[in-house]
């Protein structure tokens, strides 16, 4: 990367070489995309969403194209925290960037046990998923009501010695209250937004496309709403915010940064263009140069 534009950022004391992070669930543990480009060029990578115990995920259709986006109902298929610690971490360490373990849960006990295990492992940050819409009676239940979220974040905080990011759901009753509750409970940073709960119906089969009926909407379709939520949260909290939601281009990245985000995550765009991480990074350098931005931190939160 050219050094005439400074893209490095810091989140909760962790230095990132640039503000681009691969979003959980779209990037595996990085190795598949690393066959296509050096994923170490990204600021960081969020692991596939982990749960304490291995999960097979949901039955039926899991991905579905929608206007300017897609829906998914993978259901947190993952090898479990123990297997991730045994082999996933070493694999992700090879990339040399910030290693963020993303973890969801089904119960308070699962969250606490999993967070304690990951806290002792060689990760840089823990991203707590209280927002997965695709797992029944778990995940998102914690992400809807601020008082429930506050409780789980407080308990995880007690056992987690790693910088703690809490990933928020746009389905929260009130995203700003949710953000403030998580901050008060000890989150070092917030990331938002996860997918919007959504639905598709197969009119020929006369039934919902997804076995779980509802699934998570992502992609360009949600970007303006995600941007509004990031903006609103950044106005109220003091911890760094990582923007997520339909970010496809360097222009999108700057929008989120100007709305107040310290960094962003790229998710659905990886499916549209498997080289998106590297290409958005290259364009971001060029865009900052054109816009006369010598240090990306100087435009954070200017709107």
């Amino acid at each position: 990367m050219d050094n005439d534009v400074k893209l490095s950022v810091e989140i909760a004391g962790v230095p990132f070489r640039n503000p681009l992070i691969a979003a959980s669930g779209t990037f595996g543990f990085g190795e598949e995309y690393n066959e296509l480009y050096d994923v170490g060029c990204l600021g960081g990578i969020c692991s596939k969403g982990l749960t304490l115990h291995p999960k097979d995920g949901n039955e039926g259709i899991r991905v579905w194209e929608t206007a300017s986006g897609m829906m998914n109902s993978v259901g947190l298929q993952n090898p479990g925290v123990e297997a991730f610690i045994a082999s996933g971490i070493a694999q992700m360490r090879r990339f040399g960037n910030v290693l963020i373990a993303n973890m969801g849960g089904h119960s308070m006990d699962d969250y606490i046990t999993g967070a304690a295990m990951l806290s002792d492992a060689d990760i840089d940050m823990l991203e707590l998923n209280i927002s997965c819409p695709n797992v029944k009676s778990g995940g998102m239940a914690f992400g809807i009501k601020a008082d429930v979220a506050k409780e789980v974040v407080s308990e995880v905080r007690k056992v987690c010695r790693k910088p703690l990011i809490v990933k928020l759901s746009p389905n929260a009753e009130n995203i700003v209250e949710m953000a403030l509750a998580c901050e008060a409970a000890g989150a070092d940073a917030l990331s938002l937004v996860n997918t919007f709960q959504a639905m598709a119906i197969d009119i020929r089969k006369r039934k919902p496309v997804f076995n779980n009926v509802y699934a998570g909407l992502s992609g360009a379709a949600i970007k303006p709403i995600a941007l509004r939520m990031v903006h609103a949260v950044c106005k109220q909290v003091h911890v760094p915010v990582i923007g997520i939601g339909g970010i496809y281009t360097a222009e999108d990245v700057l929008e989120f940064v100007m709305a107040g985000a310290a960094a962003v995550q790229l998710g659905t765009v990886n499916f549209n263009n498997p080289l998106a991480g590297r290409e958005v990074l290259d364009s971001l350098v060029e865009l900052c140069r054109c816009e006369g931005i010598a240090d990306i931190n100087t435009v954070r939160g200017i709107c």
């Binding site: 039955e59 194209e65 897609m70 360009a220 549209n272």
Partner: protein
């Protein structure tokens, strides 16, 4: 595995809803049964579309696809000289190097095209290849597959061409050292069951909705006797005995 930009050399409609697409190809090893994720749009559509390889030629790659939705309809509008993105080759492909003797290829509908490249490679490896091809009504790809086969068996649902009925009615698996199949699940299940009865090795190539195509998103996972497997990366070809259907 590479992400390439290619140029459309030909995109021709050959039946009501089947198209054959030829694109420039810089080369590389493509195994029978492997596929590419294709994209002839920018971000107007979100996902790339998995299409299996029909034929590999020096400097060119051929695909044969059916227009079923927004993506393939968009592909059908491609003109010579247009640009198209390719991600691949994806998946494992048929284990052609492990096969010997006499092999039956059993294809149904748009599952037939990948058997063309398969037939060619098996033939060049010195195997004897027979093809059992089941169509709805109009035939396609038959002439291309015929070149590499000893015996050809054709069926259509209403008897417009060849045998009237299902192609599995014609199959005698006990004649073969292995059976490779690709097509509708109901057909492949029948083929797998017949092979199991005859104690013949059978490989099935599955079709699935997928997002990334490279094993990262787990959008195409299926339950197998060996646990959850990704159709895009661990498949699309599976031993029939590993499948749970």
């Amino acid at each position: 595995m590479r992400y390439l930009e290619s140029i459309v050399e030909e995109n021709q409609q050959i039946t009501d809803d089947i198209f054959v697409l030829c694109v420039t190809f810089a080369g590389g090893d493509v195994k029978p049964g492997q596929f590419y994720m294709l994209k002839s749009w920018d971000t107007e559509l979100t996902l790339m579309r998995p299409i299996s390889v029909f034929q590999v030629e020096d400097g060119y790659l051929w695909f044969m696809y059916r227009t079923v939705g927004a993506g393939t309809r968009r592909m059908s509008e491609l003109k010579n000289g247009d640009r198209i993105r390719l991600l691949g080759p994806c998946g494992n492909g048929y284990p052609c190097e492990e096969l010997k003797g006499r092999v039956a290829l059993v294809g149904g509908g748009v599952g037939i095209p990948p058997l063309c490249h398969t037939a060619e490679v098996l033939h060049r490896n010195g195997l004897t290849v027979d093809a059992y091809l089941g169509f709805r009504d109009e035939l396609f790809a038959v002439g291309d597959i015929e070149l590499w086969c000893t015996d050809m068996f054709i069926s259509t649902e209403h008897g417009e061409e060849g045998y009237k009925g299902f192609v599995t009615d014609l199959l005698k698996p006990e004649r073969y050292d292995a059976v490779l199949t690709c097509g509708p699940e109901v057909m492949m299940r029948k083929v797998a069951a017949m092979c199991a009865d005859a104690n013949v090795t059978c490989y099935c190539s599955l079709e699935h909705r997928m997002a990334c195509g490279i094993g990262a998103c787990l959008g195409c996972s299926i339950r197998t006797k060996n646990g959850m497997k990704r159709v895009c990366k661990d498949g699309p070809v599976f031993r029939s005995t590993d499948l749970m259907w």
